[in-house]
């Protein structure tokens, strides 16, 4: 019984924590792709916005 409770507690992250995790990962991915990845077409399209938002661009 106690073991079962412990196991549940270990994996039972709250829905707020789950939301934070999912949003955090997606947000970081989006910023990396739109702001930092250097693929040439992406860089050209995002160029002005990267400069204007203080990303490291060149």
């Amino acid at each position: 019984m106690i073991t079962a409770l412990r196991r549940k507690a270990l994996f039972d992250i709250s829905s707020r924590q789950a939301a934070a995790l999912v949003c955090g990962i997606l947000g970081l991915g989006l910023i990396t792709i739109a702001g930092n990845v250097q693929a040439s077409a992406l860089h050209a399209a995002a160029h002005d916005v990267r400069h204007a938002n203080g990303f490291v661009c060149h």
């Binding site: 709250s14 829905s15 707020r16 924590q17 789950a18 939301a19 934070a20 995790l21 999912v22 949003c23 955090g24 997606l26 947000g27 970081l28 991915g29 989006l30 910023i31 792709i33 739109a34 702001g35 930092n36 250097q38 399209a45 995002a46 002005d48 916005v49 990267r50 400069h51 204007a52 938002n53 203080g54 990303f55 490291v56 661009c57 060149h58």
Partner: protein, 227 residues
């Protein structure tokens, strides 16, 4: 909760990104285009003849400016998701953040994501001297991360140790120092570069305040059955 955090982050980010993009196209882009004339050598600073500091507005470039608006919305959607994640962690179940408080959250996001990196790597006009890109990107990510942690400690930490700990985290990236160029080589007049940096930061602050307020409003008012 997950769906609500996701959609409010993305929608608030897209809205704030559109508004910020328009602000940037009006106030930041003309300065950038002016700098590009010096980057390409079309205008020469400190050449034989004095160059007028005035520049006619070059009009709208539909493709270039449209892509800028699109990417502004994408980047702010990313900011919105990160801010939504932080708000989800900070608010107890059932509690919510008011739009006014959300604006303060936005200021903190601006400090972490734009002001702190700009303290040692100012927003650059095209043509600035620079060193290895990946070194600066690593420094940029690290600075944004430790600044965000420091602000979180100041806002939500317990115990007196949190203040010195936050100060150490805030100062560390700048004491260690961002990668700097060995030589100056920028062909762009300093007046343009300075105006660009302050306009970029000002538009960024406006964007983040709008983002924080819109996001808090959406998180409070979006229907709960969204998830």
């Amino acid at each position: 909760m997950i769906a609500k955090s996701l959609t409010s982050g993305i929608v608030a980010g897209a809205a704030a990104g559109l508004l910020t993009g328009l602000l940037q196209l009006s106030f930041v882009q003309p300065v950038l285009l002016h700098a590009e004339l010096y980057e390409t050598g079309e205008l020469v600073h400190r050449g034989a003849e004095a160059v007028s500091a005035q520049l006619e507005w070059s009009g709208i470039d539909p493709v270039r400016d449209g892509l800028s608006l699109l990417f502004s919305m994408l980047i702010f959607a990313g900011y919105g998701l990160l801010l939504s994640a932080a708000m989800a962690l900070a608010t107890a179940d059932g509690a919510s953040i008011s739009p006014r408080e959300g604006a303060v959250w936005g200021v903190c996001g601006f400090v972490a994501a734009q002001l702190a990196p700009a303290f040692s790597l100012p927003p650059e006009v095209p043509g600035s001297a620079h060193v290895d890109l990946s070194d600066r990107q690593v420094w940029w990510y690290a600075t944004v991360a430790v600044t965000a942690v420091a602000l979180w400690l100041l806002a939500f930490g317990r115990g007196h140790w949190r203040v010195p700990a936050a100060v150490v985290l805030l100062l560390a990236p700048h004491v260690i120092g961002a990668p700097q160029p060995e030589h100056f080589e920028g062909p762009v007049p300093q007046e343009i570069a300075a105006l660009f940096a302050s306009r970029a930061l000002g538009a960024g602050l406006a964007g983040w305040v709008m983002l924080g307020a819109i996001l808090a409003w959406l998180r409070r008012n979006a229907p709960e059955d969204l998830g």
